[in-house]
Point group: C2
Chain length 207, copies 2
Amino acid sequence: MSETFNLINNIQNGCSRVQKKHFVKNETITTYIQKRNQICIMITGTADLIRYDLNGNKDIVDKFNENDIFGEAFYPVHTNNELTVICTTDCDVLFLLHDDIYKKCKQNCKFHNTLFSNILELTLRNAIHQNTRIEVLSKRTIREKLLTYFSILSSKDFSKSFTLPFTLTNLADYLSVDRSAMMRELKNLIDEGFISKSGNRIKLLYK
Amino acid sequence: MSETFNLINNIQNGCSRVQKKHFVKNETITTYIQKRNQICIMITGTADLIRYDLNGNKDIVDKFNENDIFGEAFYPVHTNNELTVICTTDCDVLFLLHDDIYKKCKQNCKFHNTLFSNILELTLRNAIHQNTRIEVLSKRTIREKLLTYFSILSSKDFSKSFTLPFTLTNLADYLSVDRSAMMRELKNLIDEGFISKSGNRIKLLYK
DNA sequence: TAAAAAAAGTTGCAATTGCAACAGAAAGAT
DNA sequence: ATCTTTCTGTTGCAATTGCAACTTTTTTTA
């Protein structure tokens, strides 16, 4: 999305309410705090949204890539555990506040208008990602989860062959299933001739 | 959201690109067609998003209530099955096209500006709902799914007691688990003293 | 380039879950 | 007021899954 890029270049002569910050790998980008309503846009880099539960267990709740939009504004109230965004590579992140989107700056600057359009666009893309994940997670067996996800990737690439955008370990997290159980099912699908796999390239053999 | 209501009242002297339509129970509101990019807002009533798969099986993918925003613009490309929105009560629905949101009407009418803000707001609320469901679905056991969902409802109501917004049958669908298995687990939670339940009112007994 | 860390791949076993098939209660429709 | 449909509640059993505990391979870092 090149608009986002243009946005960044305009920051200098744009509005002071928007901040761009740089982070190095493993730094904390933000912590989700109720009612702050921060909205973040990942300009470059990748990050994980991590939950530390009461027992101190780490859990990767979500993963963010270039042009993803995230922040408290997108999350339900969370009382008994903390959500933290930690970058997994060096990052550039744009920060803005939900309220500021409405209180447009006095000058009615072009920057603010562009920003506004971009946010809606990014938010819609975010919704599509979420709906994809919900569709996959709502399948009841690992086999169905895999085949549903593969089918979506295949549609996106207009091809029976595609490359997984994840390591297999991360794929298991994305599907919210035990990795070893997923490996077993992947092997079954191969043995039964539904798919073939080399590295993280998958080919669908059915239909 | 009273803004949405005001929006509707302004339609007459507003922009012709936006349509409001009435539907009676069981009518089809829309079918998701790739690239049409329709955005719909439920003014009053409820509806189900239904998938018919290749075997002709019905599957309720999502449920929409008053002020929910939905439509193709929110959904991943879907090649081999059809998504249809069918109302479960009489409905009033607002229709607009994704592209029209950007091509603001020439008069730069107040209506269009209000609409624009509202859509972002509704889309954000939608994201929160989706994240809630993802959080719940990503738990691996029925017990964890139930407790996670209950905990979110409890936070929302600021109370250990709350009313389920679903019938138990629909709750099982929302959690994407077998209803009888969910009933069994619900019974276990009661027997083990974690929760109490009367009708569809739940009370958390722990912590 | 050697050491360390992360990812991939396997397997046995116990626990959880889905499925099928009921019966009774509650809610809606005629 | 009765009929019909939907919802709730239960159970046995087989299938799926998670967990734990490994080894091997690949990638990253010092």
